[in-house]
Symmetry: C2
């Protein structure tokens, strides 16, 4: 603790998202379009309200029309259906939790895949697991991927190695992901393994490895349970990504190898204060990148909708 | 407690299922077909193993080819995909829990809707909520409904009133359902309300009413939160259906109105021993009807598959 501060570079989400926001803004202006995103808020959760305000602010800056619809949770499914059918709406998102648990997973599937800016419908999550990157066999319609913000950050900070062929750019990397939720952690582990990494996926029930086999033999990743512990996998990892939604959770910094890349996507700080003593790069949060990616997905869906209409 | 035993009729699932089993057996024999059901077992849960054995026994009796495939849970998704593609397989079921929680809900959606004998894919559950009874607008392809066993029992014991028009045959009935899981309780409450009942749906987070409005005004049910308590809704109920998966849970018999119809679909006894002092009809379990309905759904899917092939 008394050692001098090491040369850790802290990368803020605002910096990563800036170039995307600029590009989106330019694109919208040049093409003179006004894509519309509808956000449904059906709870009083302060984090959701704040996230909605943040989305509104970013959309206003970039020229996206954002409409927040506050609805009773019992009416939400019907309101989603109406937005699915409404040609004036290009994208739909929902501020979860609504009911919590499996009923929220049901609601995720009520959003049309052609308007799902979050990529949370079964189709998109299935495609992540199966390393299917397009909706069509002609490869003209890219899938929406729920964990894009983390992928974008990892491209920005050089975790993806552009020298390697596309699709294998994480080959050689060992990555620990602490969180295996169906919304982020499990698709993220799958996506990283599909890109060639060896991934340790950690949650309270145990640790699993996600890989494409020795020498990237498999078309998509496989998953195996392992008896390894957090104390064994973290010190081997080039990248450690945390997403534990608990204020008191802190990953012990002493487990991190020197020069590790540390990324936190929880709304709570999952790394200890001295993480910078060990890490080469530290990304304390990802929220602003998430909003930028929602906008990018919205533009993509807007274009698909207009292409379909031709 | 010292009162004489009231005239309660106990209806066993074996009795309800007998006529269905006989019909299925006759149908298979006369048509000289051999529909094939594949069950996936990826856990060591004794209840799941027992349920699998029971499915095997019933299928053997009725002429259905049942194949139990024991697989590693990490391979399950791929094995489901293979069975989806295999023309020799007419129906697929999975013995849950596998991973538990939302990952199991993901797996439910991996089964093709054309082979989903349990009716647990999103499409079927969505259709239950929206009172959509056919997959096609021509109304030739009936949906698979996850809570059919309970509907069949309620038809058998006269809860559905055949004098009323089809679709409204529970109008006038007040029904309490204790369990609001995404697999049974919530679709069941929706189905009963869609058929005209006033339903109180109870779980540990509170009570909701499911109705089609005064005088059955709505095409499908709506849901509202209520401040009413279990002590208030159970005494009003003509039918009380329990599905609490906890051995220690017992609904106090003193809440039941005289002549109530009491149905338990939990694998544990959710009613107290003296339930028969109050109930007119008591159905202590539904398991055998569930297996018969899996077979009926299998036959239906078998026919759809062969019709498609023409």
């Amino acid at each position: 603790m008394s050692a001098p501060v090491a040369s850790c570079k802290t990368v803020l989400a605002s910096k990563v998202s800036a170039s995307f926001r600029d590009q989106i803004k330019k694109d919208i202006k040049e093409r003179d379009i006004r894509p519309k995103l509808v956000g449904f808020l059906a709870n009083e959760d302060p984090a959701a309200v704040k996230y909605a305000q943040w989305t509104a602010k970013t959309c206003a800056e970039t020229g996206v029309e954002f409409e927040l619809r506050k609805v009773d949770k019992q009416d939400l499914e019907q309101k989603i259906d109406e937005a699915n059918e409404d040609k004036a709406v290009n994208g739909i998102m929902v501020y979860y939790p609504v009911f919590g648990g499996k009923q929220d997973q049901y609601l995720q599937n009520c959003v049309s895949i052609f308007k799902d800016v979050e990529g949370l419908t079964f189709k998109y999550i299935y495609n992540v697991y199966h390393n299917i990157r397009f909706l069509d066999s002609g490869e003209t319609t890219k899938c929406i991927i729920p964990c894009t913000p983390l992928a974008v950050i990892m491209e920005f900070i050089g975790v993806y190695n552009a020298v390697l062929p596309y699709g294998n750019r994480l080959y050689g990397r060992t990555i620990t992901v602490i969180n295996r939720s169906e919304i982020v952690g499990r698709p993220l582990a799958a996506m990283l393994a599909n890109d060639g990494a060896k991934v340790y996926s950690v949650d309270i029930t145990g640790i699993q490895t996600f890989t494409r086999g020795t020498g990237i033999q498999l078309q998509a990743h496989k998953v195996e349970d392992t008896e390894l512990t957090l104390e064994q996998v973290v010190p081997q990892s080039d990248v450690v990504i945390t997403g534990v939604p608990i204020a008191s959770y802190k990953l012990p910094s002493k487990l991190l190898k020197d020069g590790v890349i540390a990324i936190n996507f929880s709304s709570f700080a999952n790394f200890e204060d001295d993480v910078k003593q060990h890490a080469s790069i530290f990304v304390p949060s990802v929220g602003k990148v998430t909003v930028a990616m929602l906008e990018r997905n919205l533009l993509r869906l807007h274009d698909y909708q207009h292409r379909e209409a031709k």
